[in-house]
Symmetry: C2
Subunit: 372 residues, 2 copies
């Protein structure tokens, strides 16, 4: 797996029972995954020599992020390295312009959008979609709210163009909530769909995931799963695909973003599903039969632990375990910095209000937002 972050760390955890040999390409031995993985190659994801050195003897190469330049993926493929998902599929998770064009082609509902060249084109687009504000995104490199702007006029619209990279304009959807439909697909074409979850974002960063999404009609859930399965099939995705969705007041479901790797909206599955997203991602890229994606409890709530003002989480970590022996704590081994994802907590159970309160309390306590 290219990338030494928490996604690779949790994938390593899933590789152990599978008996799969797992290697990571990490930038430094202090990275989250590099701390725990036995086979670490140090190097840079945008250096072809490093990628080649890493890929040597690997049966398959996969990713914990979308940052490897597409040209380098193609070079690895030309070397004969098995890359899953392939560069041809992954480009849709790397480039939002390519993604929107492909989704339009296969008829998947998306916010109206257009590649724009300057603020005047943004203004023209705004006029077409019902006026300001408009969402602007760099087509490449954004994540966790970075590379995204909500602009209210032509002056504000100038900012994203400063970097000189392609910009995508999208209508600002009046959504009631965000959902995520996660599926896993193998080279054989076998696919499984996880229960559709609700994802609660704060400042563009995932804060909380509820599985399954409360009060989601069976019909809407099936529609979301069908969209995700259709994207996975049409784009020939191998591995885990997270489709982030807007649910609108008038009953539509629109695709917001794609991720072709284990994703924050699937962390609940470690404790909450028969087979976690990490295990199924590995099974898929290794072309093993996929595991049961169903939930193990009526409700599972995952809350991210973001860094707060206190760098040392040890006392709150003790407190959280002592207060609630049923909370599953997942720490990523990362230094605490304000706003940084340093872990997550998961609670499963029969009563949503109870499960949610317990998970939120644990995360808030770890962050230092509350002290009792």
């Amino acid at each position: 797996m290219v990338g030494g972050g928490q996604l690779a760390r949790m994938t390593h955890q899933a590789a152990i029972p599978l008996g799969a040999r797992f290697r990571v390409l990490a930038a430094s031995p202090s990275e989250s995954a590099a701390q725990v993985v036995g086979d670490v190659v140090l190097g840079n994801e945008d250096d072809l020599a490093d990628l080649r050195r890493f890929a040597q003897d690997c049966a398959v190469v996969t990713f914990d992020h979308e940052q490897v330049p597409t040209a380098l993926l193609r070079a690895l493929e030309a070397d004969g390295v098995v890359v899953r998902p392939s560069s041809r599929a992954l480009v849709h998770a790397q480039d939002k312009g390519v993604m929107r064009a492909a989704l339009a082609e296969i008829g998947v509902p998306c916010p109206r959008n257009r590649i724009v060249a300057d603020p005047a084109e943004v203004a023209a687009f705004a006029a077409e979609v019902g006026g300001w504000p408009v969402v602007l995104k760099t087509t490449r490199g954004g994540y966790d709210g970075k590379g995204v702007w909500i602009v209210r006029d032509e002056d504000e619209a100038a900012v994203p163009f400063a970097a000189g990279v392609p910009v995508l304009a999208e209508e600002k959807v009046d959504f009631t909530r965000e959902l995520a439909a996660c599926v896993v697909r193998s080279p054989h074409g076998q696919a499984v769909a996880y229960p559709v979850v609700e994802s609660i974002q704060v400042d563009g960063v995932c804060r909380e995931v509820i599985a399954p999404a409360p009060d989601l009609s069976e019909e809407r859930a099936v529609e979301a799963q069908r969209i995700a399965l259709s994207i996975a099939g049409e784009l020939d995705v191998t591995g885990h695909l997270a489709v982030e969705l807007f649910e609108t007041a008038d009953g539509r479901i629109l695709v917001n973003e794609l991720a072709m790797r284990p994703h924050n909206s699937g962390h609940w599955s470690i404790d909450g599903a028969v087979t976690s997203q990490f295990e199924n991602h590995l099974r898929a890229v290794l072309d093993l039969p996929l595991g049961d994606p169903r939930a193990r409890a009526p409700w599972t709530v995952m809350v991210n632990v973001l860094g707060g003002d206190y760098p040392d989480m040890y006392r709150p970590y003790l407190h959280v375990m002592a207060r609630d022996p049923g909370v599953k704590v997942h720490m990523y081994g990362k230094d605490v910095k304000p706003g940084r994802k340093v872990g997550h907590v998961t609670v499963c159970g029969d009563d949503l209000a109870d499960v949610r309160e317990r998970a939120r309390h644990a995360a808030d306590y770890l962050r230092g937002d509350i002290t009792e």
Copy 2:
């Protein structure tokens, strides 16, 4: 953790979400845990210099087996190394003579037993406990049926004495089945008890564990848990304690063996309990609050995968996953040799007969006993 076997491998898996740095002392890089752990010290468990090198900078030292000589544990403790369980507790899991004496002292029911010096003493013991056969055990070094003999006369009783090590004689208990009561205790004195399980042994090796033990009365289950908690408390055990028990036709529960480490009878807890034995062992030796030991499903069945005649398990591994997406497969990365524990499978569910059939089928198929 001293020892590079599958218990250390699975403990590493549990250390990752806890955010705990995990080091193993392994004899070779090919050992089960050494394949997956990031921080491996190569060395020998009966070499004090190796143990000291390994223990350097460790907050606490624990074990995946009982083979470290007691004198070396004491030497580490004299150095100021925190050893959990302590040498004073662990000796009861290392030496069956010491264990029987201590259990007698605290009034825990055991098979009648005596340290014997020669075949004549065995014959005298046999006469006292109702005649042959008698069970003979070396006091140290036995496991998985090794170091245990069932002898039918004085001639057969000569064999165990050949090695010149102390021998313990025990009455052969007419048990109806074997149970295991697993508890975890922290230095704080906090303790949790897992559901009592039934353990099915074939030729002295654990084949299958059913959690909870079917048709076990609440009263008997509480008695077994009380015995295990009392042993953990009286012997000042830190970490996981497995108490293997005989249930007799006349309604008694007798202690067979003790293990002070994660144990085969607790593997079901990875998938079947809120907190696995491995996580709780770590929590205990790190003096963290303990996690909820309760079962997540009405029934969990764990079946060991023993090596069969076919060294390559890849095709059966594919088959098992394809046939039953709900089977949890745990492979230890070990070369397949006949009779060797190379993995286990776990199935959870509501219907014991179904769960058991599925787990057995998967294990039998992996071993090569069945091919359909």
